[in-house]
Amino acid sequence: MSNAAGFPLLSLILFTPLVGVVLLLLTDRRQEDRIRWIANATAGAGFLVSLPLWFWYDTQDAGWQFVERLAWIPSIGAEYFLGVDGFSALLILLTTLMGVIGVLSSWTAITVRVKEYYVFLLALQTGMLGAFMALDFLLFFLFWEVMLVPMYFLIGIWGSDNRLYSAIKFFLFTLVGSVVMLLGILAVYFYNHSVTGVYTFDVTQFHQLNIPDGLQWWIFLAFFLGFAVKVPMFPFHTWLPDAHTDAPTAGSVILAAVLLKMGTYGFIRFSLPIVPEATAAFVPLVVGLSIIGIIYGALVAMAQKDWKRLVAYSSVSHMGMVMLGMFALTPVGITGSIVQQLNHGISTGALFLIVGIVYERRHTREIAEYGGLSKVMPVYATIFLVMTMSSIGLPTLNGFIGEVLILQGIFVVSKFWAFVAASGIVLGAAYMLWLYQRTMFGNVTNPKNEGLPDLSMREIWTFVPLLVLAVWIGLYPKPFLDRLETSVDNVMARVSSDYTPRLAAAGAQAGQREVPSGTAGAQAPVRGGTR
């Protein structure tokens, strides 16, 4: 473990949005522009303070970085324990970036209860960041639940037609999953106590456990329910189209780009390393559901008449791909899965922004209402084209890297699975291009579309970072993949013995791999004299 800066970077990142919340609460609700400025400034600051995670991250160090550790509830052994590896560092960066984009995109879209809206958005930001940083399982669970509430209100208050139904569905679905997950957490907690005699929620400690098979299965299933709902995997996906469709644009963007990653993050961080044998045993189930999800999501997307719902179902398909790569349980597959998580955040986030822009102008999401938009909104059409291509995995854009790694990763495990999953890519092209044709091509048939203004400067700037990332990951993904190497190796060391020779070799090279728990604890910087 290391703390490169010797300075509580993660806490700073975590609490920056909360500072914004406090400032907003102190602001008069009628000064809407001032509220918007404060929110944007906070989100921007949040992104800026997270940038050191990119620059100071040490790709050679296999341990946790930027660790902070303080007592929290000593009586049950819960700690305020934060730390990141390459995987969570990238997700944190994605979160802060999406936060900026989400807040910026809401400037004109939100006109009622502006103050509350930004308060919820920023609070949500803190919840998500905390979940990605927490290395204490209880702390993770806390943040996991904290995220729900602001999202519930964002959908329920600022959503469209069916918002209450969707908000409640979203809330209940996730809650059911997380309650079962809590049982799993407690099972690990008590098992750990029975073995080591210490009450702790320390995830790094859990990563060392060898839980007996029967218990592993139950724990896996408990985690699975919690995370699979969030991913969402078929058949737990039905909250997603409703929630996405009815959420305000920024809500959809953050939901797609970050919240869904909670589930996959949970799988990689908790399910795989804590219960490796059960994970291996459940591969056929999870892979089967993932492949169904890929094909099913794509086909259902094809039948949609609602633009946003189509993107939502495409999300189901893409997340199936992410799960597929992860459960290939090969380094390439897991790397691909993580890259695809970032890609999904970038491209689907952008697609929701794209829908949001015309929704703001026309207040309808019916595909049939549009057509020929590339004539009136050429810049918009170009961005949409790039993002469509990114979404369907065109080489030189980001989606391709993820898909190719995932499919190659799964191919060496089972050719049949790879064959079926690859056909999802064909379907992906079909529904996205059809959508593009129906909305962008042809003549402007609907007179209401004739005077639509093209993107404003602010709207263009919400897309620029996403476009840059899409091309960057597509052409030169090395910096991203380098950051993932140690994370993936750590997970692989737990789930498969096939790859250990290579890992050991890599360890010798890096000098310090597989830090045993004892020394790990000792190396953790003691802050505040509380350990």
Binding site: T238, Q408, A422, V426
Partner: protein, 697 residues
């Protein structure tokens, strides 16, 4: 030669310039200069690189440049233990890719120049957009050609598909154009599905994606003559990709529709370069394919079937571009036939000559369409020979070349294919010769219907000979002054290509005609794993005399085709209609392209849509139904609990309260508030108690 990575990157820069800045700020002239300039620079680099390549001795003509890491190494299991999945941005220059970059940059530049005039009446942003796409296409195509690993080639492969999609749908306001673009992309994706799976299998089998390394490893493996092994599966999957890209049966349906795009696009993408990528890919993996003879047989059969089927459809089409499109499909079939019988060099040779004469024919047809004010139906043309002599002459040369008339390029390349096919299988040869005859017929039918007979097009104002220079104006509403020769920017590329169509064949004059078949020897190193190893198909040989005999037969057949066209469309133009009536059934089948589109539409497209709608219903009804059912059940049971709670549980509580309350009504009357009553009661109580105490005991 270390700068070969610049060859694709230059057009890429052009595309970026035109796309990011040009659409908004460049005037037409600047956009054109940027596009043509980058292409010219790229051509120059290619020429230099090629010259350097030629300067090397025959077996050292292989140069690989790694520009950067793309996907850094990640461990992965392969058939031979734990390998490392790694893909660099690497480019290879060898004879095959050397030839291809010359074709792509050379013809690409000519078509860029041609487009400058052809697209002149487009509004300014669309003009820049067009050149952006065209440059982008060249970028991806060169990436495809130069890429030294499967995955880099796949990047180019999908990229050209994207550009094809964009350029076919360039006039996106036309429903048919955007439909065609979408169709092309999706059908190509089906092919890509096979290609990418093939790539995965390659990695799994060999642990590397580098073409050269794969070829060397594959060469060590036994030839899978008896059954389908892993090499055969790889080749089959790769060939699925080639089928999609090169429009072979059953995935050829997108190419004729792709003619919705602007004509220069059809010439560049859908005739000269992109569609030949499949052939190029098979050639690149010649070692793999030659180890899978059964797949080679499949390749040959599909190539042959496509050649014949497309040729028959071509016989009756009336749209000038569609005739050429089917001809392209047919010629691609020839190339696959060549590769299928093991004549990789012949296939590549035909690829090159075809690039010249088919680009020429397309550009010529573009010139005609331009002259006829966007008319594409040959039945409304005729007699154009006198109005546009240059176009007529150059297209005539192209038609002669494709028909296989001796001494033109098509003759040498096609004859090489036929010869090698004959060695392989006589039946294939016969069918191929028939297809060649049909090619000659429909090409000359096109020439005769367009340039001969009397003029059948619409009338125009101002009479004949009024060749206004209206192409130079800025695309405003120009009146049509009748058919006219195209401006020089368009005719010069035509002439250059015509020269190419005549001369390109002389690099491969067969030994039977006293040549040395230079191109075959030049390309040979690309098709074998180790330079110097002999070609596999050289076992059988015919005497030069027999070879000449075969040539004579194919020339004769071609002549017959031309003669029939002459008789039907010049001598007795009514014969064509008579034949159409006499064979109404077959004619209808052919004009409707064997109803393949309808079949696909009824099965795959509709099937997918029905499946999609069904699943959507399933999603709403069953999956979401289960969720909502759970919700409903919860709500219903809560209602029941509510009723229970209200009337039973709460009822009991209320009963207790009620009893207390009612009871208290009686007792409260005792509460008079008068102290003396209370005192009296106390007294009575004391008396009672004392009495009981005294008496009761």
């Amino acid at each position: 030669m270390d700068l070969i990575w610049l060859i694709p990157v230059l057009p890429g820069i052009g595309a970026a310039l035109n796309g990011l800045v040009g659409v908004r700020y460049f005037d037409k002239r600047t956009a054109a200069y940027v596009a043509c300039g980058t292409m010219a620079a790229s051509l120059l680099l290619s020429l230099v690189a090629f010259a350097q390549l030629l300067g090397l001795p025959g077996d050292e003509r292989f140069h690989q440049v790694t520009v950067a890491e793309w996907i850094p190494p990640i461990p992965l299991e392969t058939a031979g233990g734990i390998g490392s999945f790694e893909v660099p941005w690497a480019f290879t220059l060898d004879p095959l890719s050397g030839m291809m970059i010359l074709v792509v940059t050379g013809i690409g530049l000519l078509i860029h120049v041609y487009s400058v005039a052809y697209m002149d009446h487009e509004p300014r942003p669309a003009y820049a957009r067009f050149f952006c796409y065209l440059n982008l296409f060249c970028f991806f195509m060169l990436l495809l050609v130069l890429g030294s690993t499967f995955l880099v080639m796949f990047v180019g492969w999908e990229g050209v598909g994207l550009c094809s999609y964009l350029l076919i749908g360039f006039w996106y306001h036309k429903q048919s154009a955007s439909d065609a673009g979408k169709k092309a992309f999706i059908v190509n994706r089906i092919g890509d599905w096979g290609f990418i799976l093939g790539i995965f299998l390659v990695f799994f089998t060999f642990g590397t994606l580098d073409f050269h390394a794969v070829a060397e490893l594959a060469a060590e493996m036994p030839v899978e003559a008896a059954g389908m092994g892993v090499l055969s599966l790889i080749c089959l999957l790769l060939f699925v990709g080639a089928i999609g890209k090169s429009a072979q049966i059953p995935l050829y349906v997108w190419l004729p529709d792709a003619m919705e795009g602007p004509t220069p696009v059809s010439a560049l993408i859908h005739a000269a370069t992109m569609v030949t990528a499949g052939v190029y890919m098979v050639g690149r993996n010649a070692v793999l394919f030659s180890h899978a003879p059964m797949v080679m047989e499949i390749v040959a059969i599909i190539g042959l079937a496509t050649a014949i089927m497309a040729a028959t459809i071509g016989l009756v089409q009336t749209d000038i571009k569609r005739v050429l499109a089917y001809s392209t499909v047919s010629q691609l079939g020839y190339m696959f036939l060549a590769t299928g019988v093991g004549a990789f060099a012949a296939g590549a040779f035909h690829l090159m000559t075809h690039a010249f004469f088919k680009a020429l024919l397309f550009l010529g047809s573009g010139s005609v369409i331009h002259a006829m004010n966007e008319e594409q139906d040959m039945r409304r043309m005729g007699g154009l020979k006198q109005y546009m002599p240059v176009t007529y002459a150059t297209m005539g040369i192209g038609a002669l070349a494709i028909a296989g008339v001796p001494l033109l390029s098509g003759f040498f390349s096609k004859d090489e294919i036929l010869y090698r096919t004959f060695l392989h299988n006589r039946l294939f040869w016969m069918l191929a010769v028939v297809a060649a005859g049909m090619t000659a017929f429909y090409m000359f039918r096109l020439i005769f219907m367009t340039f001969y007979q009397e003029y059948r097009g619409p009338a125009w104002e101002g009479g004949h000979g009024d060749h206004g220079e209206h192409h130079e104006d800025d695309g405003g509403d120009h009146a049509w002054h009748g058919p006219h020769e195209s401006p020089r920017l368009m005719t010069v590329p035509l002439i250059v290509l015509a020269v190419g169509a005549v001369l390109a064949g002389y690099v491969g004059v067969p030994a039977a005609l006293g040549g040395s078949n230079a191109i075959e020897h030049f390309l040979e190193p690309s098709f074998v794993a180790h330079a110097g190893e002999g070609a596999h198909g050289e076992a059988a040989h015919l005497s030069h005399l027999a070879e000449l005999g075969l040539m004579a037969i194919s020339v004769l057949i071609a002549g017959l085709g031309i003669f029939l066209a002459y008789r039907n469309y010049i001598q007795r133009p009514e014969t064509a209609d008579e034949w159409a009536e006499r064979y109404a059934g077959p004619h209808r089948v052919l004009t409707n392209k064997y109803y393949v589109d309808e079949l696909y539409d009824a099965t795959f497209v509709r099937g997918t849509m029905v499946g999609a709608r069904g699943l959507w219903g399933f999603d709403g009804g069953v999956v979401d139904g289960a969720v909502n059912g759970t919700g409903w059940t919860t709500v219903a049971s809560s209602r029941i609990s509510h009723v229970l709670d209200k009337h039973v549980v709460d009822g009991l509580v209320n009963l207790v309260g009620w009893v207390c309350q009612e009871g208290s009504y009686g007792f409260r009357r005792v509460q008079t508030g008068l102290i003396q009553n209370y005192a009296f009661a106390t007294l009575v109580g004391v008396f009672a108690f004392v009495t009981w105490f005294l008496v009761g005991r």
